[in-house]
Symmetry: C2
Subunit: 225 residues, 2 copies
DNA sequence: TAAAAAAATTGATTGAAATCAAGAATTCCA
DNA sequence: TGGAATTCTTGATTTCAATCAATTTTTTTA
């Protein structure tokens, strides 16, 4: 059993926005951190919830989804250890606009809104770090939006595979179910399934095991339109 | 001819992020503001440019576009007087990821990166205001992304018209060309043209003049899926 | 570990929107 | 103001991906 203080320390160590702070500043933040555990499939927060805290993923994985007016769900992004969420709503809307669901057994750390805002007032460096992180997420969502409106499903899946594989040239594991990939890319599981088959037939990728693949022709994937 | 100092004052008055600052803080910022004019169609900035400044639109209109890997262009958003841009890249990337083009004769105000960051160090309220604005833009881009991946073109156009009309129940002017609307919604001018005809035939909207419309059945538009 | 549930695959069909093409309406500008 | 350039509209056709339906595979759990 891990103690809360250890969790707090782990979160602070993990999160990029805290990494460049001075020891003194980090020491100030540590006691503000609270810890929470969620089982796989459990809801971390739901749209309409009051945003009371900044949430940091210490261990596990959380998916952030948004429900469109017509009731359809889109997966916006995944939070991995070190990623955080709630900053957006923490300063603007008072209620959540989206859903967070644990995809695995997940530990999160929370810093309450008022504690965090107070900390911001005295730490300009923290504010800059947050602005930095914000900018990155904004760029990533803008990129997602542009892809969704200009690229074919095939191109989007190819890009997704290249991103997911990263520098892992040997093999990589799909971090989510095909159903979730479909939701992320704005398509259906059937179409994802067919495209995987097409890519395999074309010698672009190779299936090694369930959810494990290897990219055989990265250039070919990148050329897909 | 308007003087630069007047422009600076106008910008500071216009922009939400400056509005809640103290008089003392605003007085500090005013001398940092530089003014610039662009003719309609002129490029305000291009992808690859070094982000040297926060840009505030004082008068006119600027469209922000992004070019996808396949070369297709998407219109991301329009900047109207009081809107600003560059905050994202100001803290993260050193070069622009998108394009800004003046759609009309446009006056913008600029605050240089280092001046702005210095100001941030001494004004926590300014940081909070920026975070606030960031949050709103993130929510709006996320919404755009969700619409693009889950809604039909018809639904997206209907929502766009409702947003554009706002509370103007009598008539409203389309703020951009059909070509740009198509780019914004991720479709083609032909499809936009057809949907406008369909909406008119269905008695949902009425064309009053070139680019001028009236919404006849807002509820009907909102119900489109 | 066997049964049930969930996820993934495959095929057949439909449908929404892109593309191609040509003409009409607007806007630009010399 | 009149001709050129751009934008818009309409029609015909094609294409990509959704939907519907039926298995098969994988995962969960009792």
């Amino acid at each position: 059993m891990v103690h809360d203080a250890d969790h707090a320390e782990q979160c602070i160590k993990l999160v990029p926005i805290f990494q460049t702070l001075s020891d003194a500043e980090r020491a100030q933040i540590a006691p503000l951190v609270q810890h929470r555990h969620y089982a796989s499939g459990e809801s971390v927060f739901a749209a309409g919830d009051i945003v009371g805290s900044l949430m940091i993923v210490a261990h596990g994985q959380v998916k952030i989804t948004q429900i469109a007016a017509n009731g359809k769900e889109q997966l916006l992004y995944l939070l991995n250890p070190g990623d955080f969420d709630g900053e957006a709503a923490l300063f603007t809307a008072s209620t959540r606009q989206n859903f967070g669901t644990a995809l695995a057994a997940t530990d999160v750390c929370m810093i309450r809104r008022q504690d965090f805002q107070k900390q911001l007032q005295t730490s300009p460096q923290l504010a800059l770090n947050i602005l930095n992180a914000f900018g990155q997420r904004l760029a990533s969502v803008a990129e997602q939006s542009t892809q969704a409106t200009t690229a074919s499903i095939e191109e989007r899946l190819a890009n997704y595979l290249l991103e997911t594989a990263g520098d892992q040239t040997d093999e990589f594991k799909l971090p989510m179910k095909k159903k979730d990939i479909a939701s992320y890319l704005g398509t259906t599981p059937e179409t994802i399934s067919r495209k995987f088959r097409d890519f395999t037939d074309a010698g672009l990728i190779e299936k090694l095991a369930v959810n494990r693949f290897r990219i055989l022709d990265a250039d070919g994937l990148a050329l897909i339109e």
